[in-house]
Protein backbone atom coordinates (compact mmCIF):
# COMPACT_ATOMS: atom_id res chain seq x y z
CA UNK A 1 0.00 0.00 0.00
CA UNK A 2 2.85 2.30 0.94
CA UNK A 3 4.58 1.49 -2.26
CA UNK A 4 1.40 2.27 -4.20
CA UNK A 5 1.01 5.64 -2.47
CA UNK A 6 4.66 6.50 -3.09
CA UNK A 7 4.34 5.62 -6.78
CA UNK A 8 1.18 7.69 -6.99
CA UNK A 9 2.92 10.66 -5.36
CA UNK A 10 5.87 10.34 -7.70
CA UNK A 11 3.51 10.14 -10.67
CA UNK A 12 1.63 13.26 -9.53
CA UNK A 13 4.93 15.08 -8.98
CA UNK A 14 6.08 14.02 -12.43
CA UNK A 15 2.87 15.30 -13.99
CA UNK A 16 3.21 18.61 -12.09
CA UNK A 17 6.83 18.92 -13.19
CA UNK A 18 5.91 18.25 -16.81
CA UNK A 19 3.07 20.77 -16.55
CA UNK A 20 5.44 23.40 -15.16
CA UNK A 21 7.98 22.63 -17.84
CA UNK A 22 5.32 22.87 -20.53
CA UNK A 23 4.09 26.16 -19.09
CA UNK A 24 7.61 27.55 -19.03
CA UNK A 25 8.14 26.48 -22.59
CA UNK A 26 4.90 28.17 -23.64
CA UNK A 27 5.86 31.40 -21.86
CA UNK A 28 9.20 31.37 -23.63
CA UNK A 29 7.49 31.04 -27.04
CA UNK A 30 5.04 33.81 -26.29
CA UNK A 31 7.96 36.09 -25.19
CA UNK A 32 9.69 35.36 -28.48
CA UNK A 33 6.52 36.21 -30.36
CA UNK A 34 6.43 39.55 -28.47
CA UNK A 35 9.84 40.60 -29.82
CA UNK A 36 9.07 39.29 -33.28
CA UNK A 37 7.95 42.73 -34.55
CA UNK A 38 11.47 43.98 -33.89
CA UNK A 39 12.95 41.55 -36.41
CA UNK A 40 12.26 43.74 -39.40
CA UNK A 41 14.24 46.47 -37.66
CA UNK A 42 17.18 44.12 -37.30
CA UNK A 43 16.86 43.16 -40.97
CA UNK A 44 16.67 46.79 -41.99
CA UNK A 45 19.82 47.57 -40.08
CA UNK A 46 21.58 44.68 -41.69
CA UNK A 47 20.57 45.71 -45.21
CA UNK A 48 21.61 49.30 -44.57
CA UNK A 49 25.05 48.12 -43.51
CA UNK A 50 25.22 46.00 -46.61
CA UNK A 51 24.62 48.97 -48.86
CA UNK A 52 26.87 51.26 -46.91
CA UNK A 53 29.65 48.71 -47.23
CA UNK A 54 29.13 48.17 -50.95
CA UNK A 55 28.58 51.73 -52.11
CA UNK A 56 30.73 54.42 -50.64
CA UNK A 57 28.83 57.62 -51.25
CA UNK A 58 30.82 60.63 -50.09
CA UNK A 59 28.80 63.56 -48.85
CA UNK A 60 28.01 66.06 -51.60
CA UNK A 61 30.64 68.72 -50.94
CA UNK A 62 31.19 71.30 -53.70
CA UNK A 63 34.82 71.38 -54.93
CA UNK A 64 36.88 74.12 -53.39
CA UNK A 65 37.50 76.93 -55.84
CA UNK A 66 40.79 78.74 -55.66
CA UNK A 67 40.62 82.52 -56.15
CA UNK A 68 40.83 83.50 -59.80
CA UNK A 69 44.13 85.31 -59.23
CA UNK A 70 45.63 82.08 -57.95
CA UNK A 71 44.16 80.15 -60.87
CA UNK A 72 45.63 82.62 -63.38
CA UNK A 73 48.99 82.34 -61.65
CA UNK A 74 48.79 78.56 -61.88
CA UNK A 75 48.01 78.82 -65.59
CA UNK A 76 50.98 81.14 -66.11
CA UNK A 77 53.27 78.78 -64.20
CA UNK A 78 51.98 75.90 -66.27
CA UNK A 79 52.73 77.77 -69.52
CA UNK A 80 56.21 78.70 -68.29
CA UNK A 81 56.96 75.10 -67.32
CA UNK A 82 55.66 73.81 -70.62
CA UNK A 83 57.78 76.34 -72.51
CA UNK A 84 60.85 75.35 -70.54
CA UNK A 85 60.14 71.69 -71.33
CA UNK A 86 59.61 72.54 -75.01
CA UNK A 87 62.86 74.54 -75.06
CA UNK A 88 64.70 71.54 -73.61
CA UNK A 89 63.27 69.37 -76.35
CA UNK A 90 64.25 71.85 -79.08
CA UNK A 91 67.81 72.09 -77.69
CA UNK A 92 68.12 68.30 -77.75
CA UNK A 93 65.24 66.66 -79.63
CA UNK A 94 64.61 63.22 -78.14
CA UNK A 95 61.44 61.24 -77.52
CA UNK A 96 61.98 61.37 -73.76
CA UNK A 97 62.35 65.14 -73.68
CA UNK A 98 59.33 65.61 -75.91
CA UNK A 99 57.14 63.85 -73.36
CA UNK A 100 58.99 64.81 -70.20
CA UNK A 101 56.80 65.49 -67.18
CA UNK A 102 56.63 68.79 -65.33
CA UNK A 103 55.43 69.54 -61.82
CA UNK A 104 52.56 71.67 -63.09
CA UNK A 105 49.38 71.11 -61.04
CA UNK A 106 47.44 71.08 -64.30
CA UNK A 107 48.98 67.80 -65.38
CA UNK A 108 49.44 66.09 -62.02
Amino acid sequence: MDMLLMGLCLGVCGVVFLALAFGAAMRSESWNSDVQPELPLVKATASARFFSDRVVVPPAVPPLQVPIEVLLLQIENHVRMEQAAAESFLASPTHDLLHSKTTSPFVN
Binding site: L71, I75, Q83, A85, A86, L90, L98, H99, V107
Partner: protein, 154 residues
Protein backbone atom coordinates in the same frame (compact mmCIF):
# COMPACT_ATOMS: atom_id res chain seq x y z
CA UNK B 1 72.58 96.38 -76.81
CA UNK B 2 72.53 93.75 -79.56
CA UNK B 3 69.20 93.01 -81.18
CA UNK B 4 68.38 89.58 -82.57
CA UNK B 5 66.82 91.21 -85.63
CA UNK B 6 70.07 92.95 -86.51
CA UNK B 7 72.41 89.96 -86.21
CA UNK B 8 74.99 89.89 -89.00
CA UNK B 9 74.49 93.48 -90.03
CA UNK B 10 77.48 95.78 -90.14
CA UNK B 11 77.55 98.50 -87.45
CA UNK B 12 76.65 101.05 -90.14
CA UNK B 13 73.68 98.98 -91.37
CA UNK B 14 72.50 98.38 -87.80
CA UNK B 15 72.72 102.08 -87.09
CA UNK B 16 70.80 102.90 -90.27
CA UNK B 17 67.98 100.53 -89.24
CA UNK B 18 67.83 101.86 -85.69
CA UNK B 19 67.61 105.42 -87.04
CA UNK B 20 64.35 104.45 -88.75
CA UNK B 21 62.75 103.89 -85.37
CA UNK B 22 61.28 105.88 -82.56
CA UNK B 23 62.02 105.20 -78.92
CA UNK B 24 58.93 104.54 -76.83
CA UNK B 25 58.35 104.10 -73.12
CA UNK B 26 55.66 101.55 -72.25
CA UNK B 27 54.39 102.28 -68.76
CA UNK B 28 53.84 99.38 -66.39
CA UNK B 29 50.49 97.72 -67.02
CA UNK B 30 49.84 99.49 -70.32
CA UNK B 31 49.59 97.87 -73.73
CA UNK B 32 52.09 98.25 -76.54
CA UNK B 33 49.55 96.73 -78.92
CA UNK B 34 46.41 94.67 -78.65
CA UNK B 35 45.14 91.57 -80.40
CA UNK B 36 43.58 92.50 -83.75
CA UNK B 37 45.15 95.96 -83.97
CA UNK B 38 46.65 96.91 -87.35
CA UNK B 39 50.31 95.91 -87.25
CA UNK B 40 52.18 98.82 -88.77
CA UNK B 41 55.29 98.71 -86.57
CA UNK B 42 57.54 96.10 -85.09
CA UNK B 43 59.42 96.63 -81.86
CA UNK B 44 62.91 95.97 -80.59
CA UNK B 45 63.05 95.76 -76.80
CA UNK B 46 65.72 97.97 -75.28
CA UNK B 47 64.88 97.66 -71.59
CA UNK B 48 62.36 95.85 -69.40
CA UNK B 49 60.10 93.01 -70.44
CA UNK B 50 57.11 92.68 -72.70
CA UNK B 51 54.44 90.18 -71.80
CA UNK B 52 52.47 88.56 -74.61
CA UNK B 53 48.97 87.29 -73.85
CA UNK B 54 45.89 85.86 -75.49
CA UNK B 55 42.30 86.08 -74.24
CA UNK B 56 40.72 82.98 -72.72
CA UNK B 57 37.44 82.33 -70.90
CA UNK B 58 38.13 81.52 -67.26
CA UNK B 59 35.06 80.94 -65.05
CA UNK B 60 32.90 82.86 -67.48
CA UNK B 61 35.24 85.83 -67.61
CA UNK B 62 37.63 86.80 -70.37
CA UNK B 63 41.16 86.85 -69.02
CA UNK B 64 44.47 87.65 -70.68
CA UNK B 65 46.42 84.44 -70.44
CA UNK B 66 50.20 84.47 -70.41
CA UNK B 67 51.71 83.14 -73.60
CA UNK B 68 55.29 84.36 -73.65
CA UNK B 69 57.57 87.01 -72.23
CA UNK B 70 60.21 88.81 -74.31
CA UNK B 71 63.30 90.49 -72.91
CA UNK B 72 65.84 93.12 -74.05
CA UNK B 73 67.39 92.34 -77.44
CA UNK B 74 64.33 90.43 -78.59
CA UNK B 75 61.67 91.43 -81.11
CA UNK B 76 57.91 91.70 -80.75
CA UNK B 77 55.26 92.57 -83.28
CA UNK B 78 56.65 90.87 -86.37
CA UNK B 79 53.06 90.67 -87.62
CA UNK B 80 54.00 94.06 -89.13
CA UNK B 81 55.92 92.16 -91.81
CA UNK B 82 53.55 89.19 -92.20
CA UNK B 83 50.11 89.39 -93.88
CA UNK B 84 47.40 90.21 -92.89
CA UNK B 85 49.38 92.75 -90.83
CA UNK B 86 47.31 92.39 -87.69
CA UNK B 87 48.66 91.67 -84.25
CA UNK B 88 47.79 88.16 -83.12
CA UNK B 89 48.66 88.73 -79.45
CA UNK B 90 48.39 91.50 -76.87
CA UNK B 91 51.66 92.98 -75.63
CA UNK B 92 51.96 94.78 -72.29
CA UNK B 93 54.71 95.90 -69.96
CA UNK B 94 54.11 93.87 -66.78
CA UNK B 95 55.61 95.06 -63.50
CA UNK B 96 58.02 97.74 -64.69
CA UNK B 97 58.03 100.11 -67.61
CA UNK B 98 59.70 98.94 -70.79
CA UNK B 99 61.65 100.83 -73.41
CA UNK B 100 61.30 99.79 -77.05
CA UNK B 101 62.31 101.02 -80.49
CA UNK B 102 59.32 101.12 -82.85
CA UNK B 103 60.29 100.43 -86.45
CA UNK B 104 57.58 101.51 -88.93
CA UNK B 105 56.67 98.92 -91.53
CA UNK B 106 56.76 101.41 -94.41
CA UNK B 107 60.21 102.73 -93.49
CA UNK B 108 61.57 99.18 -93.17
CA UNK B 109 60.26 98.23 -96.59
CA UNK B 110 61.86 101.26 -98.14
CA UNK B 111 65.12 100.42 -96.43
CA UNK B 112 64.97 96.79 -97.61
CA UNK B 113 64.35 97.96 -101.19
CA UNK B 114 67.29 100.33 -101.04
CA UNK B 115 69.58 97.89 -99.16
CA UNK B 116 68.67 94.35 -100.30
CA UNK B 117 71.73 92.74 -98.66
CA UNK B 118 70.82 94.16 -95.26
CA UNK B 119 67.17 93.37 -95.93
CA UNK B 120 68.10 89.75 -96.66
CA UNK B 121 69.97 89.44 -93.36
CA UNK B 122 67.05 90.94 -91.44
CA UNK B 123 64.63 88.59 -93.21
CA UNK B 124 66.80 85.61 -92.18
CA UNK B 125 66.92 86.86 -88.59
CA UNK B 126 63.15 87.24 -88.64
CA UNK B 127 62.85 83.69 -89.96
CA UNK B 128 64.88 82.48 -86.97
CA UNK B 129 62.56 84.34 -84.56
CA UNK B 130 59.40 83.07 -86.27
CA UNK B 131 60.80 79.57 -86.73
CA UNK B 132 61.70 79.30 -83.06
CA UNK B 133 58.22 80.44 -82.04
CA UNK B 134 56.71 77.87 -84.41
CA UNK B 135 58.84 75.01 -83.11
CA UNK B 136 58.21 76.00 -79.50
CA UNK B 137 54.45 76.12 -79.80
CA UNK B 138 54.35 73.05 -82.04
CA UNK B 139 56.09 71.16 -79.24
CA UNK B 140 53.79 72.57 -76.59
CA UNK B 141 50.76 71.70 -78.69
CA UNK B 142 51.93 68.12 -79.12
CA UNK B 143 52.53 67.75 -75.38
CA UNK B 144 48.99 68.96 -74.68
CA UNK B 145 47.60 66.62 -77.35
CA UNK B 146 49.46 63.70 -75.79
CA UNK B 147 47.84 64.44 -72.44
CA UNK B 148 44.41 64.79 -74.04
CA UNK B 149 44.80 61.42 -75.72
CA UNK B 150 45.94 59.82 -72.45
CA UNK B 151 42.94 61.23 -70.58
CA UNK B 152 40.44 60.21 -73.28
CA UNK B 153 41.79 56.71 -73.68
CA UNK B 154 42.12 56.08 -69.94
Amino acid sequence: MTHELLNGLSPVEAEQVLELGTKLIVASGTSLFRLGDPADRLFLIERGRIRLTLPMQVRGREEDIFVEERSPGQTVGWSALIPPYRFTLTATAPLFEAKVIALPQAALRQYFAANPAAGHKIALNLAVVIGHRLQLFQTMWLREMQRTVEVRSA
